[in-house]
Symmetry: C2
Subunit: 330 residues, 2 copies
């Protein structure tokens, strides 16, 4: 695989928001662009060991950074005028196109949550929607023909609204969560008929399919629309379900999870970014794409907010992919 340093963003960006010279990300040569829509948030995260206020977070941020290791990324989201400039610079260093990032008068979406000692349970302490409450994703003209689309975890109606603006995307991936299963099921079911890949966690997959068995749940979700279903199982890995059968992906065995916030978004972003960098039929690359998503998610878990992902390099990702190959071989 040939890798080059991307000096020129593939797509125009708002000059005030993107500084081309600062981009540190090598992209895979000829990788297609990927569009990421989702939340851009300030996350205040509390664990047993630390308390970190107002970190850069949100589904679009995590997914965009994860995808940026592999492909040019276009970010669609909204922030308030309190959004720190240093966070824009972080996007810029990853070569992320910010033409689709709206800056509105008001406060950036703020989420505060707390993890229990074992890191598998968290509770929301506070949600302040701010400008996100009135978010209506508008795609710049330069985005509407982007071939790879990730509809990050936001209200299904907004995911529809983005799709309505796209012209013939090659692959559409959607992420969702229990909130939308409980409050916007009709919209979500309609969305499932418009997407290629659903990324969903295990308990949500069971809820959506009304099934207690994850394998059966995945099979049922196919009938709702998506040709490909990825069931995320956190520290237990992921299951990719395709018409050709299943792929059982391990998680990276981490001795220390610092902050798992955004790991699922990073997974989806890494998965799609990797696919956008592949040649030939996508079917041939799905398994490795799941592994790349898994590996980027593992870096995400190793630091608060986006710091773990931001510390990673493409070489570190490749090394961890090779390590994972050895860990599952028999």
């Amino acid at each position: 695989m040939t890798i080059r340093w991307s000096i020129e963003p593939a797509f125009p960006t708002t000059p005030s928001l993107t500084n081309k010279e600062n981009c540190i990300m090598p992209k895979t040569k000829n990788a297609a662009p990927v569009l990421m829509v989702g939340s851009v948030a300030l996350d205040s995260i509390k664990t047993a060991k630390a308390d970190k206020p107002r970190l850069l977070g949100g589904s679009a941020s995590h997914a965009a950074l994860a995808a940026s290791f592999f492909a040019p990324v276009q970010l669609v989201g909204i922030v308030g005028d309190d959004f720190p400039k240093s966070y824009l610079q972080l996007y810029q260093r990853h070569g992320i196109d910010l033409a689709g990032l709206q800056v509105a008068h008001g406060k950036t979406f703020h989420w505060a949550g707390e993890y229990e000692v074992d890191m598998n349970r968290r509770r929301t302490l506070r949600t302040e929607l701010g400008v996100f409450a009135s978010f209506s994703p508008q795609l710049p003209d330069t985005y509407v023909r982007t071939p790879f689309v990730l509809l990050g975890n936001i209200a299904p109606s907004l995911q529809h609204h983005v799709l309505d603006q796209m012209r013939n995307p090659r692959l559409v991936v959607a992420d969702t969560m229990d909130l939308w299963l409980n409050t916007a099921l009709g919209d979500l079911l309609k969305l499932l008929r418009r997407i290629d890949v659903l990324v969903i966690n295990d308990t949500e997959a069971c809820q959506l399919a009304n099934e207690s068995n994850v394998i059966t749940a995945a099979a049922r979700i196919h009938r709702l629309g998506p040709k490909y279903v990825i069931v995320k199982k956190g520290e237990h890995g992921a299951i990719l379900s395709t018409p050709a059968g299943l792929f059982l992906a391990p998680a990276v065995p981490l001795k220390k999870v610092v902050d798992p916030t955004g790991a699922g978004d990073s997974f989806a972003g890494g998965f799609l970014g990797y696919l956008a960098s592949c040649r030939g039929p996508l079917e041939n690359h799905l398994r490795r794409a799941v592994i790349y998503g898994t590996v980027v998610a593992s870096f995400c878990c190793e630091g608060f907010g986006l710091s773990g992902t931001a510390r990673a390099t493409r070489a570190m990702i490749e090394e961890r992919v090779r390590a994972l190959e050895k860990l599952v071989r028999f």
Copy 2:
């Protein structure tokens, strides 16, 4: 791998309990014998769909049947005089040596339990120890030099008592459960210094190591004695931890789990039985042994009591191992 039908048990058995002609099990040529000690029980199992009284169960029964696909098995346990003859015949059909099975005056150990709909939670409805309360495992002379030993899930003091009688076993595997962590920790810690492989589930591993992270927990358990630690994660597979590193084993993706009782015991039995059938350094075969244990455990889950395992054949096991290889390849 050459397979032959075992007509002659490798070791003498109590004539009244074993009928050589009935053995249906092909063994791997030259497989070494394995000794299984544990509970032999009558299990009354309730699920959302069925209620099955007094099935053949217990850790030794599940482990013995699982191992019998690969190697000659010696069973050490105790039953009451109410123990159904048909269950003895089941052992016999699997060529299991019953010279170490004591028949005592009284009732066989009876366990009754109920599974919730999702099959991951169960509760004990009743435990009647019967003759098991006075169980003191006594090895026939023909067992004391058996090279492969599985100390199934019984009180650590009984596991010690078996080891005290063995002469230079090649590999000692022990299984345990939270009950012994809570009531016999001292004995268990002493046992850990005498065994080669500990098989334990994820929550118990964390409890034993006083750690919330499974990977770190496994690392800590090594320091308590066992060179090899296998952490069972049920439907999420298993982790083998060795001085050379980790192996991440998937579980067989089952669309329907009928009854998971004994799956962990089947795993341990299949693991050790397979190792006993291998030539050369055991280190070279550990990963595949975990996979064979996983596969036998998957058959166990597909029927009530031992019926799923009893329906399996070596050919079915090999087929499922090959299928699992394809499911994890990337």
